[in-house]
């Protein structure tokens, strides 16, 4: 049986008339790397903020490491085992690296000083330097150090590679991909689909505040197919009114159908409409993402 570190049930957040998150039902499996994708304003950051108790849900419920996110006491308990790295990577500018490490360590009884010391050396962070004098890449490394030294069960990152140079991105991705082996589940939002595809075991795509996709990368590779069809006349959309169809793109008499359960059913229906199958190919995460958020079925 799968064990979930994050579970949400009909989670909603409304800001005035804007529905930032509307009825989100999502589960994140323990000891995996899960990528959280979505367009700008899809509700990624709001979801993360609700999980961490920074923003209160309008309705619905959720659990973080088995504790309710709507109960302040339980949410606080959950936060003892959760590490978070925010999108803008801002840390207390007036503290030195050493001060910030000591400050953070004081809140976590399981703090591993040896891990902090080893990461300080590995990331080449100067202990005496003020945080405001660090580059964005160094601030990200420091945030990661603060997160990992506390031995978190769950690490949540919001756009972790945003603004980093390629070398820093590579180091970060390598670090993240190795964490589940040490018992840390990684849940990270990103716009960089190639990065998600590289390190994630599973991907959740949120679109207009709702979960549109929740699949493992293996499921995407094995089951999803892009079928390119050519019709003798204007192709009928209703022909592919099937639950496994993720997206349909029509260009003249040509149609590209993305199916989540192989190509057989699509091919069979296409042939019944005298269509010619031009191509059947596996799809990548980029195609799935674009198909999901551009043409939501």
């Amino acid at each position: 049986m799968l064990d979930y570190v994050i579970e949400t049930h009909d989670l909603c957040k409304q800001f005035g008339n804007v529905h930032a998150v509307s009825g989100l039902n999502m589960r994140v499996v323990r000891n995996q790397v899960t990528g959280f994708l979505g367009r700008n304003g899809a509700g990624k950051s709001t979801t993360i903020k609700m999980l961490l108790g920074m923003t209160h849900p309008t309705s619905g419920s959720g659990q973080l490491l088995g504790r309710s996110i709507t109960d302040p006491k339980q949410d606080l308990e959950a936060r003892r085992q959760v590490a978070y790295c925010g999108e803008d990577k801002q840390l207390y500018a007036y503290m030195t690296v050493k001060q910030l490490i000591e400050f953070t360590a004081s809140f976590y009884p399981d703090w591993r000083s040896e891990v902090a010391a080893s990461l300080l050396d590995r990331f080449q962070l100067p202990r005496g330097r003020k945080v405001k004098a660090l580059s964005k890449g160094m601030r990200t490394k420091l945030a990661l150090l603060l997160a990992l030294a506390r031995r978190p069960s769950l690490l949540i990152l919001d756009e972790p590679t945003e603004g980093l140079d390629p070398v820093a991105i590579e180091e970060l991705l390598q670090t993240l991909s190795g964490l589940p082996a040490d018992g840390t589940t990684v849940f990270f939002s990103s716009h960089q689909i190639s990065e998600v595809e590289r390190i994630a075991d599973r991907v959740c795509i949120i679109d207009r505040g709702r979960l549109a996709v929740d699949l493992s990368l293996d499921e995407i590779r094995q089951d999803h197919r892009r079928i390119t069809l050519s019709f003798p006349k204007q192709p009928p959309h209703h022909l592919f009114d099937l639950p496994e169809i993720r997206s349909i793109e029509t260009n003249g008499r040509q149609m590209i159908v993305v199916s989540s359960h192989g190509a057989d059913a699509v091919v069979e229906r296409a042939k019944s409409a005298d269509a010619i199958v031009l191509d059947i190919a596996p799809i990548n995460l980029r195609e799935l993402f674009l198909g999901t958020v551009q043409d939501h079925k």
């Binding site: 903020k49 961490l52 108790g53 920074m54 923003t55 209160h56 302040p72 606080l76 308990e77 936060r79 003892r80 959760v82 590490a83 978070y84 925010g86 803008d88 801002q90 840390l91 207390y92 500018a93 007036y94 503290m95 001060q99 000591e102 400050f103 953070t104 004081s106 809140f107 976590y108």
Partner: protein, 233 residues
């Protein structure tokens, strides 16, 4: 304990500037009393009255009031503009504890600033051949502390209600100005305690009045905590 440390690091610049201003001005009032005396009062007054008019009732008290008001500013909304609110809120501590740490730190700083002129005046006076009673000075230090705490909480509450560093500062000054104007209206002394008069000893400063001021300050801090606990960041 580290939350107090954080609160101190965030407020220390304002605190040290206040400390510098109050120390310098206290020294000026004592050492240059012959020159300053003509600015403070047109009448011939004794040293103790001059100190009261210049420091405990006068310009220095006004400086202290503004400093304590500014000491109250800050907190999570200010952190939001710096981008660090998420770091703070992700810590395994309740928002009430964050508020408490900042409030207690600010009140201690307010008390230290209040006792600065109260200890400097009697300590420095012998150097110019004058004397000022310690008991009287410490009494003013206590009154300044209690009044200062109330004014600190005005800034504290404003920084929770009004998002934006300047908006909160302006709102706090407007509230203080409005309060001062209201208390100056004829007959209002029967309805509202004028904290400025309490601080300089010319208004009521019995135990009940002082307790009422501290209770008001506690309610103001609690209100700030309540608003913070329900806010979205």
């Amino acid at each position: 304990m580290m939350l107090f440390y954080k609160a101190w690091l965030e407020s220390r610049t304002r605190f040290l500037l206040g400390l510098l201003a109050l120390t310098g001005l206290s020294a000026v009032f004592v050492f240059f009393n012959n020159d300053v005396r003509t600015i403070v009062t047109e009448h011939e007054v004794g040293y103790v009255e001059y100190i009261w008019k210049g420091i405990f009732k006068g310009h220095l008290r006004d400086v202290y009031v503004v400093v304590t008001l500014l000491m109250g500013l800050g907190g999570l909304d200010r952190e939001r503009s710096y981008g660090t609110a998420a770091c703070t809120l992700a810590l395994p501590v309740s928002r009430w504890r964050l508020i408490a740490a900042r409030g207690i730190t600010g009140m201690i700083e307010t008390a230290v600033l209040a006792f600065l002129p109260a200890s400097m005046v009697p300590a420095l006076s012998p150097f110019i051949g004058e004397s000022y009673p310690w008991s009287l000075a410490l009494q003013f230090g206590t009154l300044w502390t209690i009044g200062g705490i109330l004014i600190f909480t005005i800034g504290f509450l404003a920084s929770v209600i009004f998002v934006g560093e300047y908006s909160a500062a302006i709102a706090a000054l407007v509230i203080l100005f409005g309060y001062t104007m209201t208390t100056d209206l004829p007959g209002m002394e029967h309805h509202i305690i004028d904290v400025h008069d309490v601080m300089n000893g010319s208004g009521p400063h019995d135990a009940t009045t002082l307790a009422a001021i501290l209770l008001t300050a506690a309610v103001t801090i609690w209100s700030a905590g309540y608003i913070t606990s329900r806010k979205d960041y």
